[in-house]
């Protein structure tokens, strides 16, 4: 079993805020301050009061907007960066995949790079040698391993980086938003590999904006917001909070108009209560127009982001005359588990690629009452959280 643990207590990190160019005299002053152990003002807190811990075999996702401090936290955990305040304890060998090209020397061959990364991780050469073939096979670089890395494609560099980081038996594996570069089959193998190292007790920290991959890979999550921990806990709860906040921001944008103007939006169940899983949902939208349009109306339901779980349209063009048009849509059987969902909509002049009359945007949200979403097995990516009624019969023969 591996013994990779991470513990941070009250970690703070401040960053220089002003981006004015620094001339020689500024740098001399900075240098002088630094030697004397002083620091200068105009900083902002990139991380504030981070308490976080991960035990061997745990998998944690870090989610949050750009600039929330995810990468800074990882850098502090890899000990590349020092915290301004607080305590950081990291035990175990760290394998990190921070940027695709970080630590890869373009002038060296793939083979030389594998050994270089190995020694950076603190491994002896013979340890690297014993896993060399496995890494090369995983990264599918058999033909390219003795070529200089500058002739590699981005995907090949990523495969090399991931292969090394994940195969040199790290106690801790940090993956920062890099898997997106690989093709679909490689991404799948990365997730499989991550599942395998998790099974061996490696502790995983995963930073990604691909929430589906995050949900499939990690059991726990931390949502960082402006340098602080907003939510921490089981991944699905964290993601629900995070998605809701993304939606909240989108909703606060007060523009439900394009060439057409949306005035009334309602998503209700017929009995006036909460919509139920498998029950009916009525959507009523009123649209004002100053001109005649033939247009396509689209509705989508999402967990917050602009990418919907499913899309609906009437299947034909809608005529908008001068004045108000009421659009009514009934979803007969709502295939959603319990939770909060967001109704998105848009109106387009032609079918799938037409001019926007109303841009794709969140219209309203609704809560669904019903069974919780079943948990997925580790490293199984579920694209959409749908609830499907099913009956099973299992007989022993």
């Amino acid at each position: 079993m591996r013994e990779g643990t991470v513990r941070t207590t009250e970690v703070w990190k401040k960053f220089r805020q002003d981006d004015r160019p620094s001339y020689l005299q500024d740098r001399v002053a900075t240098l002088k301050d630094r030697i004397q152990g002083r620091s200068r003002p105009s900083w902002r807190w990139a991380l504030s009061d981070i308490d976080f811990s991960a035990e061997p075999g745990e998998s944690w996702a870090l989610v949050g907007a750009n600039g929330a401090g995810k990468s800074t936290l990882l850098k502090i955990l890899t000990r590349v960066m020092y915290p301004t305040a607080g305590r950081v304890d990291v035990t175990g060998r760290v394998g990190a995949l921070i940027e695709v090209r970080a630590g890869i020397s373009p002038l060296l061959t793939g083979r030389e790079n594998i050994y270089l990364t190995g020694s950076l991780m603190g491994l002896k050469r013979r340890d690297v040698a014993s896993r060399f073939d496995e890494i090369v096979a995983f990264a599918e670089l058999e033909d390219a391993v003795d070529r200089q890395v500058k002739y590699y494609s981005t995907g090949m560099q990523m495969r090399l980086g991931f292969g090394v980081a994940a195969h040199l038996e790290p106690d801790l594996l940090f993956v920062d938003e890099v898997l997106a570069v690989g093709d679909a089959s490689f991404q799948q193998r990365c997730l499989e590999r991550i599942r395998y190292v998790l099974g061996q007790g490696t502790t995983l920290l995963f930073v990604s904006h691909d929430l589906a991959a995050v949900e499939a890979t990690c059991a726990n999550g931390v949502w960082l917001h402006n340098g602080g921990i907003r939510t921490r806990g089981p991944i699905r709860e964290v993601l629900n909070d995070y998605r809701a906040a993304v939606e909240g921001e989108a909703e606060s944008r007060p523009q439900i108009e394009g060439l057409l103007k949306v005035s009334k939006i309602e998503a209700t169940s017929p009995d006036g209560g909460l919509p139920k899983t498998g029950g009916r949902l009525d959507v009523d939208i009123s649209i004002h127009s100053d001109e005649r349009y033939r247009a396509w109306v689209y509705l989508g339901v999402s967990e917050g982001a602009a990418t919907p779980i499913f899309l609906l349209n009437p299947g034909r063009e809608t005529m908008f005359e001068f004045g108000q048009t009421d659009v009514h849509c009934t979803i007969g059987s709502l295939p959603l588990p319990a939770g909060r969902y967001y109704l998105w909509g848009g109106v387009y002049k032609n079918w799938t690629n037409g001019e926007e009359l109303v841009g794709w945007q969140p219209l309203t949200h609704f809560d669904v009452y019903g069974p919780e979403l079943d948990a997925a097995p580790r490293a199984v990516v579920r694209l959409s959280p749908l609830h499907v009624d099913s009956e099973w019969e299992i007989e022993k023969v």
């Binding site: 001399v28 850098k75 020092y82 607080g86």
Partner: protein, 309 residues
């Protein structure tokens, strides 16, 4: 993997309370800034720092090997470049200082005399110019995983040493040409002189490498400073031609520890004498001071490198 000894932490009060589980913390308001008692102070202790460096010796070797490969892989003449620079300088110096002006070499052939000066000088100058930029040039590697940052300048010094070894083979040619043989006493004293040379070179290189991260302008100034260094170092001339008295020689050796190294090499290899002890001692004292100061400065600046780079 690491004992974390060089990664000292401040004392933590509040959060050490085990009854406060992470989940409950959200209830407490996040303070505006950290409590002063948890501010991070990096304490550097010599022995753990050296132990950690030793732990990463393979990384230093791999890095040195990488840089050598990269350097010679792309060069048509390959390893020959290590010979060409000192060889050509020696030829040029020999031409100038034997045809146009005269330098007192104490009776030794000028080519040998200057080559013995050029070997340590080339080592020092290439270590400082390559090693000085080693941190700036390795930013992607620095930002990936932790390692004691000294490995980068030290790897560059290793490369410079490898070049010096290669360039030393020219001596095998020069000795028979001039009918000279290295004195046997060299075996004893040359390692000692090399020790002094290394101490001084490491001290200067790590200091320069750390400062360059904060002041990139130095990259442009560095070659100039190194070139000037050639003239204040007894490479083309002998120390005795500028330091006439014993005291002057000691002071000169203290200010420029390369002087006793080069003088010593000539004394030992060409004449079979032992090095002059007082200048050697002066150079040693100042080298150790430079190394200690360089290491202190490096560790001082190391903590903030990732913020700047």
């Amino acid at each position: 993997m690491l004992d974390g000894a060089s990664y000292e932490k401040a004392v933590v009060g509040r959060s050490a309370d085990p009854s406060l589980s992470p989940g409950q913390k959200g209830a407490a308001a996040v303070p505006d800034e950290p409590r002063p008692e948890i501010l991070f102070h990096r304490r550097v202790r010599l022995i753990p720092a050296l132990r950690e460096l030793w732990h990463f010796r393979e990384l230093a070797i791999t890095l040195a090997e990488r840089d050598l490969r990269v350097r010679y892989k792309q060069a048509v003449l390959g390893v020959a470049w290590a010979l060409i620079t000192p060889l050509f300088m020696m030829l040029a110096f020999t031409l100038i200082f034997t045809k146009f002006t005269h330098v007192n070499t104490g009776g030794a052939p000028y080519a040998l005399f200057s080559y013995l000066g050029l070997l340590p000088w080339t080592f020092f100058s290439s270590a400082v110019s390559q090693g000085g930029l080693s941190l700036v040039n390795n930013v992607p590697l620095l930002n990936k995983l932790y390692c004691p940052r000294e490995v980068f300048p030290i790897a560059a010094i290793g490369d410079a040493f490898a070049d010096m070894l290669i360039a030393s083979f020219v001596l095998l040619l020069l000795f028979p040409i001039f009918g000279y043989g290295p004195e046997l006493i060299s075996l004893l004293y040359v390692p000692m002189l090399m020790g002094l040379l290394f101490t001084f070179t490491i001290g200067v290189t790590i200091a320069v490498s750390a400062v360059v991260v904060y002041m990139r302008d130095l990259r442009l100034v560095l070659p100039l400073v190194i070139q000037m260094g050639l003239f204040v170092t007894p490479v083309v001339y002998s120390s005795h031609s500028i330091a006439k008295t014993e005291l002057a020689l000691v002071i000169y050796s203290f200010v420029n520890p390369l002087a006793p190294v080069i003088d010593g090499l000539r004394q030992v290899v060409l004449f079979g004498h032992h090095p002059q002890w007082l200048p050697f001692l002066a150079g040693s004292v100042s080298s150790v001071l430079v190394l200690a100061g360089g290491f202190w400065l490096f560790k001082r600046l190391e903590a903030g490198m990732a913020d700047i780079a």
